[in-house]
C-alpha cells in the first residue's frame, strides 16, 4: 500500500498527489511514468511522473478526472492509501545538451510538461513555454511554469485568460519571427501534438512528442500500447513514451485511444452514481 502524503486540487478536475513510494522516487526522472491501482479490484492506469522528492521518498502525479478510475482516485485524500504504485516506467526524456528549447503543453498534458520544463531549467537550458487550456478555470501550474521558463506564453480556447486561441498560434509566430530552438517538445492531446508537429516541420526543428496510449502492464508484456513509428510497431511503455513527432502515425494513435470509449463512458457514469448514492 502506498500512502498519499499530500493532495492539492489544482482546479475542479485536476488534482496533484504526492505518493509515498521511496523505491520509485529514488529512480524517477522527467518523462517517465508510473502505473497505479486505486483498490483491490481496480484497473491499472498509467500516469506521468509530475515530480519527485528523493529525500522524502515521494512521487508526484497530476491527474484529470476523466473516467471511473480517476473518479475513484478523486475520493482519496491525504493519509489514504493506494493499492499499487509501480515505476518508474518508460525511458526518461533525453534533455542532455539542449541549450534552447520550446515546450508546448495542452490541458492536463501540462502536468507532464512541467517536470520537463523544470528539468531543462535546472540544467541551464533556456526554455520558452507555451501552454494552452480550455478556459481560465482550468489553468494549472502557472506560477511553477513562470518560475522555470525564460518566457511563458499562455493561451485559452475561449480567451478567458491569456491569449485567445490554440497553442499552435503563438508557436508559429515565434518560429516565423526567427526564433531558433534546438528542439520543440510537445505534450498534450494527440490531436494537438499532431498539429504542433505540423507547425514545426517547415522550420526543420526536431519535434518530440510524448505518447500515452492505453496500456495494462507497462513493461512490454501486453503490447496494447503499440504505435506505428516510422512504419514500425513500437511499444510506448518501453520504447517511449517520447518519440520523434515526425515519425508517429497520429491518426492511428487517436483511433486506438478510442477502443474502449463506450465502456469508459458507461463505467464513469456508474461510478459517479455510486458515489452520489453513498453521499445520500
Amino acid at each position: 500500500m502506498y500512502r498519499i502524503a499530500k493532495r492539492q486540487d489544482l482546479n475542479p478536475t485536476v488534482i496533484r498527489l504526492s505518493i509515498e513510494a521511496p523505491m520509485v522516487a529514488r529512480k524517477a526522472l522527467a518523462g517517465q511514468f508510473i502505473i497505479l491501482r486505486v483498490d483491490e479490484d481496480g484497473e491499472r492506469i498509467p500516469l506521468t511522473i509530475a515530480g519527485y522528492d528523493r529525500e522524502k521518498g515521494t512521487v508526484d502525479i497530476i491527474y484529470q478526472v476523466v473516467g471511473a478510475t480517476t473518479e475513484k482516485l478523486k475520493q482519496k485524500h491525504e493519509g489514504d492509501y493506494l493499492q499499487d504504485f509501480v515505476g518508474p516506467l518508460g525511458k526518461p526524456s533525453e534533455l542532455e545538451g539542449l541549450k534552447k528549447v520550446c515546450v508546448v503543453g495542452g490541458g492536463v498534458g501540462n502536468a507532464i510538461a512541467y517536470p520537463i520544463v523544470k528539468a531543462l531549467h535546472e540544467q541551464g537550458t533556456e526554455v520558452t513555454t507555451v501552454v494552452g487550456f480550455k478556459t481560465k478555470d482550468l489553468v494549472i501550474l502557472e506560477d511553477e511554469f513562470r518560475a522555470a521558463s525564460s518566457r511563458l506564453l499562455l493561451v485559452t480556447d475561449d480567451g478567458s485568460y491569456g491569449e485567445k486561441g490554440l497553442v499552435t498560434e503563438p508557436l508559429k509566430r515565434l518560429l516565423e519571427s526567427g526564433e531558433k530552438f534546438d528542439e520543440v517538445i510537445t505534450i498534450g492531446p494527440i490531436i494537438m501534438m499532431k498539429f504542433v508537429t505540423k507547425t514545426v516541420e517547415p522550420f526543420g526543428i526536431p519535434c518530440i512528442v510524448s505518447m500515452s496510449p492505453i496500456m495494462v502492464d507497462g513493461t512490454g508484456m501486453c503490447g496494447g500500447c503499440r504505435l506505428t513509428v516510422d512504419g514500425q510497431t513500437k511499444f510506448a511503455c518501453v520504447d517511449g513514451p517520447d518519440f520523434d513527432g515526425y515519425k508517429v502515425d497520429f491518426d492511428e494513435a487517436i483511433d486506438r485511444g478510442s477502443m474502449y470509449k463506450d465502456f469508459e463512458l458507461r463505467k464513469r457514469e456508474e461510478t459517479c452514481n455510486l458515489f452520489k448514492a453513498e453521499v445520500k
Binding site: 479490484d41 491499472r44 504504485f85 502492464d217 513493461t219 508484456m221 496494447g224 503499440r226 483511433d255 486506438r256
Partner: protein
C-alpha cells in the same frame, strides 16, 4: 491384480455447453475411488520409462502404488520430493509428450492417467493436511529471485527450505507470473497459485510486488552493499508478445494473447462490473495453435462470442497445444481452421476489425523443427468475418533485464545464456532459468530449472 482396462478413468468435467459460459474449472478431479482404480492400472514396471519422461524425475510408480493402497499423504510426500508445484503441474503439464508418452500401458490402449493422479494427490493433500509451517533456521545468506512464476517460486521455496533469506521481486501487483496472468481460471484456479505463494511466505520468503528489476532497481544494485543480496536468480519469463507484422495488426479489436488473457485473468475483466475493459466480440479469430491460443479461444467463447476460430498454418498433428486442451476446445465449440495462414486483418471505417484474410496452406517437406513446412496455396485467399483477432504466435524474453545488467550474455533470440544443469549465467553469482533462458516452454521445465539453480546457489554460498 492390476486393472487391465484399456482406457483411463475418464476425468469428471463440467458439461461443455455449461462450462463454455463460465470461468470455473473445467476438470473436476478424480474421486478417491476413481484415483485408486486408476492407480491399479499401473504395472509398476521395473524399468520405469515414465520417470525418464518427467523433466523433474518424479518417482511415478512409487507414488501411484501409494495411491492404489489409499495412502494419499505418502503419495504426496513422494511427489513433493521432486516437484514443488504438484497441484499446478497435475493440471498444466503436457503429460502426453512426457511421462504418459512412455507408459507401457499406452502401447495397447491408453496410458495410466499420471497427470490426473498427480492432481488428485495434490488436491487431496491441500484439502486434508494442514501443515504447521516449519520456518527453517536462517543461514544468514540473502538471495534475490526475480519473477514469481514457476521457476522463481520453485527456486525461492527450495532456498528458503535450506535456510536462505529470500526475497522475490515481481513486476505485477500479484505474485504467480504466467500462472496468474496467462493461464485462465478454468484451467488453473488462482486459489491454487495463491496457496503456493502463501506457503512460501510461511517459509519466510518475502514477496515484493510492484518492483520491476531493470527499472525500479537493477541487478547490480541488488548485489551492492545497499541491498546486500549475495546471489540472484532470474526467472523473468518470456513476456514479450510476438506479432505477425501483417497489415491491419494495429486496428482496434486486435489483441496480443498476452493482453487479452492478462485483462481476463489478472484484471478479472470477465466479471460483471469489472473496472478493466475487454471487448466482447461476436466472432473471434485466434492465430496460433499452442496452449495460449487454446486459452485465448476458450476465454473468448466464455465472454459470449458466437464463433471462435483457431487459425493455424499447419495441420492438427502439429498443433503444439496439450491434447486435452484441444479436445476441450473442440467440445466447447471452438472451430479449427487448420492449414490457414492470415495475410491481412481488415477493418471498417470505424477502424475496428471486421475480417481476417487468410490463405490456405499445404504441408511440404519437414523443416528444422522436424515438422512439415507449410506453404501457401496460390490464389486461395478467403476472408473470415470476425470482429476480434487475437495473436497467439509466441512470446520472447523481455529485454528489460538484459539491457540494464552489464555482463549478462544473451543469445540472438534474447534468451539469457545459462548452464543447463546449474543455471549459471555469464555474470558472477547470477543464475537464470525458465522461459527467460529457454524461450516460451512449459511450467514443469521452468520449475526444474528453478530447482537446479537453487541447488547450485546453495553449493556456491554454503
Amino acid at each position: 491384480m492390476p486393472n487391465m482396462s484399456l482406457k483411463k478413468n475418464p476425468m469428471p468435467s463440467q458439461d461443455p455447453v455449461e462450462r463454455a459460459k463460465n470461468f470455473n474449472e473445467v476438470a473436476l478431479g478424480y474421486t478417491k475411488e476413481m484415483a485408486m482404480d486408476e492407480a491399479q492400472r499401473c504395472l509398476n514396471c521395473k524399468n520405469r520409462p515414465c520417470v525418464g519422461g518427467c523433466p523433474v524425475q518424479i518417482q511415478i510408480p512409487d507414488f501411484i502404488k501409494k495411491v492404489s493402497e489409499g495412502d494419499f499423504e505418502a503419495a504426496y510426500q513422494i511427489i513433493s520430493k521432486d516437484s514443488s508445484l504438484p497441484a499446478v503441474c497435475g493440471r498444466v503439464c503436457p503429460q502426453e509428450t512426457q511421462c504418459e508418452k512412455f507408459c507401457v500401458r499406452g502401447i495397447k490402449g491408453e496410458p495410466v492417467g499420471i497427470g490426473r493422479l498427480e492432481r488428485f494427490v495434490a488436491d487431496w493433500h491441500n484439502e486434508n493436511v494442514k501443515e504447521a509451517p516449519v520456518k527453517p533456521e536462517s543461514n544468514g545468506h540473502k538471495v534475490a529471485v526475480i519473477g514469481s512464476g514457476p521457476s522463481g517460486l520453485t527456486c525461492a521455496g527450495d532456498l528458503a527450505k535450506r535456510g536462505y533469506d529470500v526475497t522475490v521481486f515481481e513486476a505485477l501487483h500479484t505474485a504467480g507470473g504466467v500462472l496468474v496472468y496467462g493461464i485462465p481460471e478454468f484451467r488453473l484456479p488462482k486459489a491454487i497459485v495463491k496457496k503456493e505463494v502463501e506457503g512460501l511466505k510461511e517459509l519466510g520468503v518475502k514477496i515484493e510486488t510492484n518492483t520491476i528489476i531493470g527499472k525500479t532497481v537493477s541487478i547490480d544494485e541488488l548485489m551492492s552493499p545497499e541491498f546486500g543480496f549475495e546471489a540472484v536468480f532470474i526467472g523473468s519469463g518470456a513476456g514479450l508478445p510476438s506479432f505477425m507484422h501483417i497489415p491491419g495488426e494495429n486496428l482496434k479489436g486486435v489483441y496480443s494473447a498476452n493482453e487479452f488473457l492478462t485483462r481476463i485473468n489478472l484484471m478479472k475483466a470477465y466479471r460483471e462490473g469489472a473496472d478493466t475493459p475487454i471487448k466482447h466480440s461476436k466472432a473471434v479469430a485466434v492465430v496460433g495453435g499452442g496452449n495460449v491460443a487454446m486459452d485465448a479461444a476458450r476465454s473468448a467463447k466464455r465472454l459470449g462470442a458466437e464463433h471462435v476460430y483457431i487459425v493455424y498454418r499447419r495441420s492438427e498433428a502439429e498443433l503444439p497445444a496439450r491434447k486435452e486442451e484441444v479436445e476441450h476446445a473442440k467440445e466447447e465449440g471452438i472451430e479449427f481452421k487448420l492449414l490457414n495462414n492470415p495475410v491481412e486483418i481488415l477493418g471498417g471505417e470505424d477502424r475496428f476489425v471486421n475480417g481476417i484474410k487468410c490463405v490456405r496452406m499445404e504441408l511440404g517437406e519437414p523443416d528444422a523443427s522436424g515438422r512439415r513446412r507449410p506453404h501457401a496455396v496460390e490464389g486461395s485467399e478467403f476472408v473470415l468475418d470476425v470482429d476480434c483477432v487475437i495473436i497467439a504466435i509466441g512470446t520472447t524474453p523481455n529485454p528489460l533485464i538484459k539491457s540494464t545488467t552489464e555482463g549478462l550474455d544473451t543469445n540472438a533470440k534474447g534468451c539469457i545464456i545459462a548452464d543447463e544443469s546449474t543455471g549459471k549465467t555469464s555474470k558472477d553469482m547470477v543464475y537464470a532459468g525458465g522461459d527467460a533462458v529457454t524461450g516460451a516452454a512449459t511450467v514443469i521445465l521452468a520449475m526444474g530449472a528453478g530447482k537446479a539453480a537453487a541447488a547450485a546457489i546453495d553449493e556456491a554460498l554454503k
